[in-house]
């Protein structure tokens, strides 16, 4: 079979299975079974499929995933995150669009402890959204920042999906985690700028209201009590990784245990909420890893069918300039992101993209950050952005899906702008890992 026909059959059937609402993991398994039979030697290929499945996830590089997820789940279920958000709420005064700004700042802080984008969006959505709507905030001012900052969670470490990208693409996980910090924080700053400007130009979008006057100590105390320890955990996790004291897995485990201890110190930890957090962790981690069970076989099938080499050679021989190839890859990711989940995006694209990135001499960490920004945008782009549905599930019933789409649009545009900025100025991604780890 010609390589292009193999590629067409493989991706065509995958698209059909996914569109028919078969869970993504089973869609990959279905393709793997047929592909292993055709290209990996029939019966022997199916035995290999099982061996590959276990080997794909029994790997040290993926172990930070559940630990990073656990950090966010513990803060979420014990209510410590709410206290941290409340502390930030007390500090931000006299800013146009105050509650939207609080959402972005609190989301950025929470991103630095949580490895789960959905936990961030669900937390901020359920906590801040009702208050914003009650105070007359326009739905776009209320929902847009919450969804957008949930996406930024993927860029700011700890991030489960960054670990997965590093592991599957063979990029240094420590460097990739640290490389996401600057673009993530810059995006947050852009969001704040956008909110303030919009609310200043049109105060009706975010009516100001009287805020309880508190003495300075009352305003700062919660920050020291509830935010500083969380930021300290973030610093310890990043420092342990950067200084080489601990591997990403060890740093993540220390972070998770430290988060549990902090919740215990606040007397917020109970057996019941700890178990809820652990169950949440098992659920989120297993959803990701269960798709990864099919990863190795899928990439082997793409290679054995000739699809990987065929497509890579076609692009390499077309004599395109590196920026054009990069732009095409990002475009593919942005379009895919509108339809499929982030783990599937990695499985589909990485077998082609990493050989191309190597052929064109792209810095892997820089390329990884661009990949992450595209995946983050995929969480926000209609019609199937995951965070849009998370928002729908926590928003009041009268909020319609098209209002959610409209609310997120400016933030998607800012995300694309950040993508272009990082593509044009690679140090935005590579400077911090070079400084901290030294490459």
């Amino acid at each position: 079979m010609a390589w292009w026909l193999s590629a067409l059959v493989l991706f065509g059937s995958l698209a059909m299975l996914m569109a028919a609402a078969l869970p993504a993991a089973f869609a990959f398994y279905g393709i793997n079974i047929a592909g292993a039979w055709i290209w990996l030697g029939g019966d022997a290929g199916l035995v290999q499929l099982v061996r590959n499945g276990v080997a794909s996830i029994a790997t040290f590089s993926l172990t930070p995933i559940p630990f990073f997820v656990l950090m966010g789940e513990v803060l979420f279920h014990t209510g410590v995150a709410m206290k941290a958000i409340d502390a930030i709420d007390r500090l931000i005064w006299r800013v146009p669009g105050r509650l939207s700004v609080v959402a972005v700042v609190a989301g950025t802080v929470f991103s630095a402890i949580s490895g789960s984008t959905i936990a961030t969006t669900a937390l901020l959505g359920s906590l801040l959204l009702p208050d914003m709507l009650r105070r007359g905030y326009h739905p776009s001012m209320a929902m847009g920042p919450i969804m957008a900052i949930g996406g930024v969670d993927m860029l700011i470490p700890p991030s489960a999906l960054t670990v997965l990208l590093g592991s599957l693409a063979g990029i240094s996980i420590s460097q990739l985690l640290i490389a996401g910090i600057v673009p993530g924080v810059l995006l947050s700053a852009m969001f704040v700028g956008h909110i303030v400007l919009r609310a200043w130009l049109d105060p009706g979008l975010a009516p100001t209201f009287e805020h309880e006057a508190l003495p300075a100590w009352e305003r700062w105390k919660p920050l020291l009590l509830y935010v500083a320890p969380l930021v300290a955990i973030f610093v310890v996790v990043i420092a342990a990784m950067s200084a080489g004291w601990a591997t990403p897995t060890e740093s993540a485990a220390i972070g998770a245990v430290a988060t549990v201890l902090v919740a215990w110190a606040y007397r917020a930890l109970t057996w019941s909420n700890l178990m809820q957090a652990l169950m949440g962790t098992a659920g989120i981690s297993a959803v990701i890893l269960f798709i990864i069970v099919g990863a190795t076989t899928f990439s082997q099938i793409l290679a054995f069918s000739g699809a990987t080499n065929g497509l890579v050679a076609l692009i390499r021989d077309a004599g395109l300039a590196p920026p054009a190839v990069l732009a095409a890859m990002m475009l593919v990711l942005l379009v895919l992101g509108c339809f499929v989940d982030q783990v599937s995006m990695m499985l589909i694209c990485l077998p082609f993209f990493m050989p191309l990135a190597a052929a064109y001499g792209f810095d892997p960490v820089w390329f990884g950050v661009l990949f992450l920004i595209c995946m983050q945008l995929g969480l926000l782009t209609p019609p199937f952005g995951m965070l849009l549905f998370t928002m729908k599930s926590v928003a009041p019933k009268e909020i319609r899906m098209n209002q959610i789409f409209r609310a997120v649009t400016p933030y998607v545009i800012m995300g694309i702008l950040m993508l272009v900025l990082v593509a044009a100025f690679p140090p935005l991604a590579t400077w911090l890992p070079k400084l901290l780890i030294g490459r």
Binding site: F60, I65, L289
Partner: protein
């Protein structure tokens, strides 16, 4: 029938709880290893190796529970827009397909484990154990998934909604 449903849910929940506890215990063990190494009590390489094996085990333990809660990531837009009768048909077709996929994994999971046991293959790292131990969770997990797909097929319900995600 209701008694079966209740017992079934409880079984899947118990397996997911085992996965949750396993992940929690792994986090504690890895931290203890780092602390022990840094205070001079020595390192325990088997802990880090054990954490690698915990990942597939926890994943296979939790996967059937996630399917029962409709939390595996899937694109359900067609189900949402189709007429209820057609959506039910499509849902049944995907349940049947899911069942078939699981059946293949059960058969080949058993065969892979048996073949490995017959050859006497061993995993020789910090922890030494028969290799077939690694493969046993595969047919068990997929057999549970196959039952869940069959249950969904028989119930004929359409379940839309996005699952948890990172």
């Amino acid at each position: 029938m209701r008694a079966f449903e209740r017992a079934w849910r409880r079984l899947l929940e118990a397996l997911a709880a085992a996965a949750a506890l396993l992940l929690g215990a792994t986090a504690v063990a890895v931290t203890a290893d780092v602390v022990s190494r840094n205070v001079g009590f020595g390192a325990f390489p088997w802990i880090l190796e054990g954490s690698e094996y915990a990942l597939p085990l926890a994943t296979f333990l939790a996967a059937p529970w996630l399917l029962a809660r409709n939390e595996h990531v899937r694109l359900d837009v067609l189900l949402r827009v189709l007429a209820p009768r057609v959506a039910r048909l499509l849902e049944r077709a995907t349940d049947a397909l899911g069942f078939a996929v699981c059946a293949v994994f059960v058969v080949y999971g058993v065969r892979t484990a048996l073949e490995s046991a017959r050859q006497g293959s061993m995993v020789m790292k910090s922890i030494v154990f028969p290799e077939w131990w690694l493969f046993v969770p595969v047919p068990v997990c997929f057999a549970l998934l196959a039952v869940e797909f069959a249950r969904r097929f028989a119930a004929g319900e359409v379940s839309v909604g996005a699952g948890p995600h990172a």
